[in-house]
Amino acid sequence: MTEEEEDDEVSAAEFILGTLSPPEMQVAALRALEDEAFAGRIAWWREHFAQLDTSPPEIPVSRGLWRKVDLLTRAVDRMDGHTPVEALVSIAKQKGRWKAAAFMTAALLGACIVAGLAYFHRHPPQGERYVAVVNEGGTQPALLLMVDVASHKVLVHSLAAEPPPGRSLELWYTAEGEAPRSLGVLSPHSSAAIGLDDLPLKLGDKPATLAISSEPPGGSPTGRPSGPMLYSGPLLPLK
């Protein structure tokens, strides 16, 4: 084995062991995209080290964990069962490799979706609830929103929503056949709760969409979306 091959072997193994520093790990991940042989090394080490976990110690889980898992997976089912990560894996299997940017986006989004859903399950609302993942052009999840009817709140967990420079993001509720109604201006990169004083409470009566538009600072001056809709997603019941 040449020194270069040794470097690759060690990087791949340390990637799986988790001993690479975060920057080294990202370099290794990008490398795996462009170098099928390197990806093969990562796969080789993963498969081998997995053999060490034959009888891990058992630690009882807390009583509420199953309920969280159950709710989380039911929420995922309502997202058509496909996150961008799944879609890209499918593409990867067809094409063998794909662009680094898409790969990293997929990996980051995968983490964001899980983090976002976990957020809601750590801060659970009560009663009738609806969830929406709003996307950019049907691909990138930007925000995870949960409407909690009982507390009259929309819980917002920002995943990747970015307001254009000098603009605000405004959240809109649109029931089928009706005009959009503002739910307020969002602050990006945060989790927040928005009051629902004016929201119709019979949310389940008609198909509805949550969407986000680009507006002047502070929100639309007209009470209707005045800028382009950047993100949108259907509002789905979470039972």
């Binding site: 060690v10 001993t19 975060p22 997995a50 891990p56 997976t73 299997k93 990996a107 980051l108």
Partner: protein
């Protein structure tokens, strides 16, 4: 309690068919083991449960794509739990963007499309047993206890660069040993 791997395989098949009862039974059967793996890496019960939660989300989503020809499902789920724990550790370290270990290694697998030789897999323990110290302990501590290079440096009271060298030597020797294993499990000269 030892895991009944055949039972686990049946439950995973049920989960793949979307059966929630199978999913619940699978959770009851294997969640403590997944928490054991996650706790070994995170050393924090709450963080370990977050990792287990993430792992079951992935198991639910991916059970239908699990290739049973790759063997028992338990190691597949253990690997997911381990990756989720590593991701959780990275998330909690707040060192830049969080990258998802599980998605990354899964994507690497998708690109590589390789499946290891089962005989080769069985040889891993043999080769680890044959590995000299401190290389062996470094690798096993990194894998089983989630030790970072810094953790190992502290444990051995050595500079991080020394640990990097030990890991490198150990991993190269491990690879050479595994690469030299005959399919029957005997070492070639």
């Amino acid at each position: 309690m030892p895991i009944d791997r055949n039972k686990i395989n049946e439950l995973v098949a049920g989960v793949a068919a979307g059966d929630r009862k199978s999913f619940r039974d699978l959770f009851n059967a294997i969640a403590p083991s997944l928490k054991g793996i996650a706790f070994g890496i995170l050393h924090d019960a709450e963080a370990a449960e977050d990792a287990v939660q993430d792992a079951f989300l992935r198991i639910w989503r991916r059970a239908k794509t699990y290739d049973r020809s790759r063997g028992h499902a338990a190691p597949w789920m253990f690997a997911i739990a381990r990756n989720c724990a590593l991701t959780e550790r990275l998330r909690r370290s707040r060192q830049g963007a969080v990258v998802d270990y599980d998605d990354l290694s899964r994507l690497a697998l998708a690109v590589a499309e390789t499946a290891p030789d089962p005989a080769d897999l069985e040889a891993l323990r043999q080769c680890l047993d044959a590995l000299e110290e401190p290389y062996r302990t470094c690798i096993l501590s990194a894998h089983g206890e989630g030790c970072t290079r810094e953790d190992l440096a502290q444990r051995f009271e050595k500079p991080v660069n020394t640990i990097k060298t030990w890991l490198r030597r150990g991993l190269i020797r491990l690879k050479a040993c595994l690469g030299g294993v005959h399919p029957a499990g005997k070492y070639s000269s």
